[in-house]
Symmetry: C2
Subunit: 245 residues, 2 copies
């Protein structure tokens, strides 16, 4: 029996991957991942068998990865950011538990730098206080539940990070969320948008709740909406922790 | 003028630090940090000037670090987990912005693997869906606001991660939070507790909302409370993303 390691490769650049992730990829003989992420770590893949598939083929990909591990291979399943945040860790474990105990390969999860932490570091320090992370993708989650969560997070004055804020087919959701947040947060609340954090095409905009949806936002963007204390100064977005300076 | 780099060193083990963090520490001539974290990275510090201070001396420490950078040094301020989550990134930037523009050294933030992501990887995959992060420390935040946030996060059916869940002086807060959460979440909701993630003394317990406060919990613990879909099986805590298997 082989093993399977689910690896968070971080936001994009090889430098933002942990040493543990680097070592696990080096040791593995088989790498499974979404083609876009496979490309990000190409320099590490020489001589390895690659199971690369397109978007929305997560179940197929993880099933193939498990099958390879059962055959005796050392398989790494790579996932961008942290594999445990909207990534592949949960799916691999769920598929594993469907097998009889004696047919399960060893599994380990290696955490990575989440997209939200990477985006925050680029914006300054917008995440310093209690925060909520919400994905706007309704492929696997009812839209009404997503809207409900946004409303409660706003009422709790959380800093709010939005994953998957907008896709080509899903352009109106971000507007709906903006309207919900405006019920509880002032229009001038700072909003940071980071596209392609640490990748070649990285871009950053700091806007506000009234206007941020006019900016370019896509599936590679991460949106961070401040709490009532967040401010923007000198192109930095900062949420004070509460120190008396 | 020198520079200051605020570095998330990850949960504890040197292997869980990013390459970018390793390189920045290597390059710096001066390292500032809480003594406990300085100890975690001791193998990297030979020949460097150390500004190590005790707990609750964050402002002094960051002020000294900035002063060194202004004198021309390459200063690294280290912070456990991600420096942008209850860490030193915000404080350093706030102190920086108090200086006249021409007296500000260059600043960069390097993100790290957050304690919550590290704890989640050890527990399985409890964080796979929308989550809220709340610190129970009321040193800098009014206790009523913390309780309010816990109530809204529970009503939004977020997975909830608690930082600083309990200290020697603050033993009743976690019980109050448990009672608030029990108003909105079932008593059998899985709760994971990870102490000293990736450090020598790492320990893990999976309990439930009714009983988790009977377990050992301290300032080095991270508590993760599931959402309505989270389950525990084979010592793994999993929040399904919603894939139909």
């Amino acid at each position: 029996m082989g093993k399977i390691t689910v690896i968070g490769i971080g936001p994009g650049s090889l430098d933002d991957m942990t040493l543990r992730a680097h070592k696990a990829i080096e040791k593995a003989d088989t790498i499974a991942g979404y083609n876009t992420y496979i490309k990000l770590i190409e320099p590490l893949l020489a001589g390895k068998k690659i199971i690369g598939t397109g978007m929305m083929q997560e179940i197929d990909r993880c099933t193939m990865a498990l099958a390879e591990a059962c055959k005796g291979h050392d398989v790494a399943v790579v996932s961008s950011g942290d594999a445990g945040v909207y990534g592949m860790a949960g799916l691999v474990l769920e598929l594993l538990l469907q097998k009889p105990a004696e047919e399960r390969p060893q599994v380990a999860i290696i955490p990575g730098v989440s997209a939200v932490n990477a985006a925050a570091a680029i914006l300054g320090a917008p995440l310093m206080h209690d925060f909520a992370v919400i994905s706007l993708s309704d492929l696997l989650t009812p839209w009404d539940l997503i809207k409900k969560r946004a409303a409660f997070a706003a009422q709790g004055d959380f800093v709010i990070a939005l994953y998957n804020p907008k896709s080509r087919k899903r352009v109106e959701h971000i507007e709906e969320i903006r309207e919900i947040l405006l019920k509880y947060k002032p229009a001038n609340t700072p909003v940071g948008i980071v596209r392609g954090a640490t990748r070649n095409n990285e871009s950053v905009v700091i806007s506000d709740l009234a206007n941020f949806t006019k900016e370019e936002i896509d599936m590679f963007s991460l949106v961070i909406i401040g709490n009532s204390n967040t401010y923007s100064k000198n192109n930095l977005m900062i949420t004070p922790r509460g120190y008396k300076l």
